[in-house]
């Protein structure tokens, strides 16, 4: 009979050594706010819990020449209060404001939110618009993959069991004049997103959008950067009509991925409405 063991490595090397030997039978605990629920309901039945919450290699938010580095063990509360992120990744900072509750933000980490691979993870759309690279370590290798490659499906993580997420490297929001994160949930606070989205743009003095990135979350099985919608907005001077049409396009593209479901009748309008509401500040005339 298997027994559950709790292991808290002192160093990254110890953690990677454990994953090398027992990764397949291990669940990694970063904050625990998802894992403890899964342990309780039987959704997770590991032999080992590897608590990486105190590893210094997973901490810290830094602006570096290679980009904005956000440690996998950074909590949502730390993201919420980060001046570096306010400057260089404001949509990521904004997503932390409405993330779960204060109690959860104090403990939950960005690495855990990504690795859990919930389609409605709030940190994912902001990471996607910053073209975040995920820095991974194992005993034998260091590598980076794009954020879109972490989830292979809802709650299905594509990473091999011997790998640990160290940090995320974001392209900074240089020259961006507009950034936003929005979500629709069943209530204002402590809501799981039904739909969430992140956008950032540079609007020139003449009103033209010279740079635009957009990602819709929760609606597709894996993260997705909506390039069709980006192309529709980029180079344009947004009008009410243009953002309405972009919203229509977004809803159409999403339904093309998911197919029509019982929730589509609601989501079709809500997706369009969310984009229109988000991009309203960019409308020039």
């Amino acid at each position: 009979m298997s027994r559950l063991h709790y292991i808290r490595p002192e160093t990254l090397a110890e953690a990677l050594d454990h994953l090398d030997r027992h990764g397949r039978r291990t669940k990694i605990l970063a904050g625990g706010t998802d894992l403890v629920v899964d342990l309780r309901n039987g959704g997770a039945r590991p032999d080992f819990i590897l608590d990486v919450s105190r590893l210094s290699e997973l901490k810290g938010i830094e602006f570096t020449p290679e980009g904005v580095s956000v440690g996998a063990g950074v909590t949502l509360a730390e993201i919420e209060s980060s001046d570096i992120l306010e400057r260089h990744a404001p949509a990521l900072r904004k997503c932390a404001f409405t993330f779960a509750s204060r109690q959860i933000r104090n403990v939950a980490t960005i690495g855990g939110n990504v690795a859990h691979c919930s389609p409605c993870g709030d940190t994912v759309p902001p990471l996607v618009i910053h073209e975040a690279r995920v820095v991974l370590a194992s005993m034998h290798d260091r590598r980076e993959v794009p954020i879109e490659h972490i989830a292979s499906g809802p709650y299905a993580c594509s990473l091999p069991p011997d790998e640990l997420i160290l940090r995320f490297m974001l392209k900074p929001a240089a020259g961006v004049t507009f950034a936003d994160f929005q979500k629709i949930g069943r209530r204002r606070e402590l809501a799981t997103a039904r739909i969430n989205a992140a956008a950032m743009a540079r609007q020139e003095p003449d009103g033209r959008i010279s740079f635009f990135r957009f990602s819709l979350g929760s609606c597709t099985p894996t993260p997705y950067r909506m390039q069709e919608v980006e192309n529709c907005i980029r180079g344009q001077r947004p009008t009410a009509k243009l953002i309405w049409e972009a919203g229509r396009l977004l809803a159409d593209r999403t339904i093309a991925i998911t197919g029509r479901r019982p929730s589509t009748i609601y989501k079709e309008s809500a997706i369009q409405g969310l984009l229109v509401r988000m991009l309203q500040p960019l409308v020039t005339s």
């Binding site: 298997s2 559950l4 779960a100 509750s101 204060r102 109690q103």
Partner: protein, 161 residues
């Protein structure tokens, strides 16, 4: 589930403690069932209701979403460490005077969230109070008395310092 034992040392309401429990024990179970600090409640058990809120190293957390093993070396405060029936903490006093308590089940969690908030921000706006207690559900009061009592507690402790 069979689980191997874990031994930790931590500070609970100002007292150094050691505890031993099985690896899958939550912080809530350790505090409430093993150590018998019954003020910390289990409501939903999945981090929605906040009845299990305690303060760990100065921050409000849901003890139902934390393994007891995560408390090793930490400083924990529960409602029993806030005030006593004879000498209520100013926040508790404000809740009593302001009728912020009805059935009382959510109250310990709300008091801990309030304590963490006022430690960080002694003069919170109503919006800041709303953010801080959004993870504490109260099905009785409608929250207005709670808001008013927290404002009163903030006001009173400002006068003391």
């Amino acid at each position: 589930m069979d689980a191997s034992p874990v031994r930790i040392q931590f500070t609970l309401n100002g007292q150094p403690r050691s505890a031993e429990f099985s690896a899958n024990t939550t912080a809530l179970k350790l505090i409430r069932d093993d150590l018998k600090y019954k003020g910390t409640k289990e409501g939903c058990g999945i981090g929605e209701c906040g009845a299990c809120t305690v303060i760990v190293d100065g921050k409000a957390v849901n003890s139902c979403l934390m393994l007891a093993a995560q408390l090793d070396g930490r400083t924990v405060q529960t409602i029993e460490g806030l005030g006593t029936p004879e000498a209520l903490h100013p926040i508790q006093e404000a809740f009593v005077k302001g009728h912020a308590v009805q059935c009382g089940f959510c109250t310990p969690g709300l008091l801990m969230s309030t304590q963490a908030l006022l430690n960080e921000n002694p003069a919170p706006t109503r919006a800041a109070i709303s953010k801080a207690i959004a993870g504490n559900l109260c099905r009785c009061t409608g929250y207005h008395h709670i808001f008013a009592s927290i404002e009163e507690a903030a006001h009173n402790s400002k006068g003391q310092t």
